[in-house]
C-alpha cells in the first residue's frame, strides 16, 4: 500500500523545504512516527522519477563534510500536484472513516 503512495509521501516530506535524500527519509520517519519501514534506497528512484516528471528540481551542493550533495526542492507543479493528492487522499480517508466508523445498525424498512 505504501508503494502506491510513495510519490505523495515524498512530495509531502519536501513541502516544508528543500532537502537531500537522507533528510527526506528522516523527515518521513519523523512525521510518520516511524510507521513507514521501507528500504531507504527506494526513495532515490522515486526522487529521480519525480524530478523527471517536473514535480521536483535538484541542485548539487557541497556539504560541510566536503561531500557532494544533491538537494531537492518542490517545483510549482509539484506543489500543485501535492495539493491535488492531498485533496484526493482526504476524500478517500473521510469515506473509509465513515464506513469503518459507522456503528449504527441499518434501519429496517417498515
Amino acid at each position: 500500500m505504501l508503494k502506491g503512495h510513495l510519490d505523495m509521501i515524498v512530495l509531502a516530506a519536501l513541502a516544508s523545504g528543500s532537502a537531500h535524500g537522507y533528510a527526506v527519509i528522516e523527515e518521513i520517519k519523523r512525521r510518520s512516527g516511524g510507521a513507514f519501514d521501507l528500504p531507504e534506497g527506494t526513495i532515490y528512484p522515486a526522487l529521480h522519477r519525480l524530478e523527471q516528471a517536473g514535480l521536483l528540481k535538484s541542485t548539487w551542493t557541497t556539504a560541510d563534510s566536503g561531500r557532494r550533495r544533491r538537494v531537492y526542492t518542490l517545483t510549482r507543479t509539484g506543489t500543485r500536484a501535492l495539493a491535488e493528492r492531498r485533496a484526493v487522499w482526504k476524500q478517500f480517508s473521510d469515506a473509509i472513516g465513515g464506513l469503518l466508523g459507522a456503528s449504527r445498525p441499518r434501519e429496517t424498512p417498515a
Partner: protein, 230 residues
Amino acid sequence: MIPDFLESLARELDFDRSLSRCVRQEVEDHLWEAVAADSTGNTLQAQRRAIANFGDARAIAAQFAVVSLAQRTRRAGIATVLVIAGDLIAMKARVAWYAAAQWGISDDMRALRGLVILIDRYAFWTSVIVGLGALAYILSREIPAAFSPAFRRQLRCFSVLCSATAAALVVSVISDGVLTALQLRGMEPSVEIWVAIFTMAVEIACVGLLVFHIRSNTQRAASTAALLKA
C-alpha cells in the same frame, strides 16, 4: 564496507554511466550521513547498519533502470522530431541551392520527377504527423514506478509510432536521392554538385540517427526487462 557497496551499486547501474556516477555520489552522501547519525560509536557496525537499511543494490538498480528507460524513451521522442527537422532543413537548403544556381531538369524527366515529388511529399508529411504523434504520446504518459504491463504497452506503442516515422522518412530520403540523381544527371563534377551531395548525406545521417535511437531504445527495454527478471 561502504566503498564496496557503492562499487557494486555503480556496477549494477552500468547501463547508464552518467546515472551511475550521479547515484553513486548521492548514495555515498546518504550512507556516510547515516553512519554519522549512528549513536553506537562503532563505525564498522554503523556502516553495516546503514547498508542494510539502504536495501539491496540490485533491487535499487532495477528501480532506477525503469526511471532511466522512461527518460531515454522521452529523449528518443524529442530526437525523432529533431531528426525530422534536420531532414527538412537539408531538403529546403538543397532546393534553395537549385533555385540559386538556376538548375533546370530535362523535359523527358519531368513526369518522373513529378511522381517522385508526390511520393516524397506524402512520405515526409506522414513522418511529421506520426513523429509528432509519437512525441505527444510519450510526453503525455506518466513516468512509471515499475516495469508494469501498462509501461510495456506504452513502450510498444511508442516503438511502433517511431518505426512508422522512420519508415516514412526512409521513403522520403530515397525519393530525395532519386530527385537529386535526376537533377545532377549528366552534370560535370563541380563544387555546386557537392552542395547537393552534402545535403543528401545530412538527410541520410538524420535517418540513420533515428534508426539508431529506435534500436538502442528497444535494446535498453530488453535489458531492463532482463534485469528485472534476474
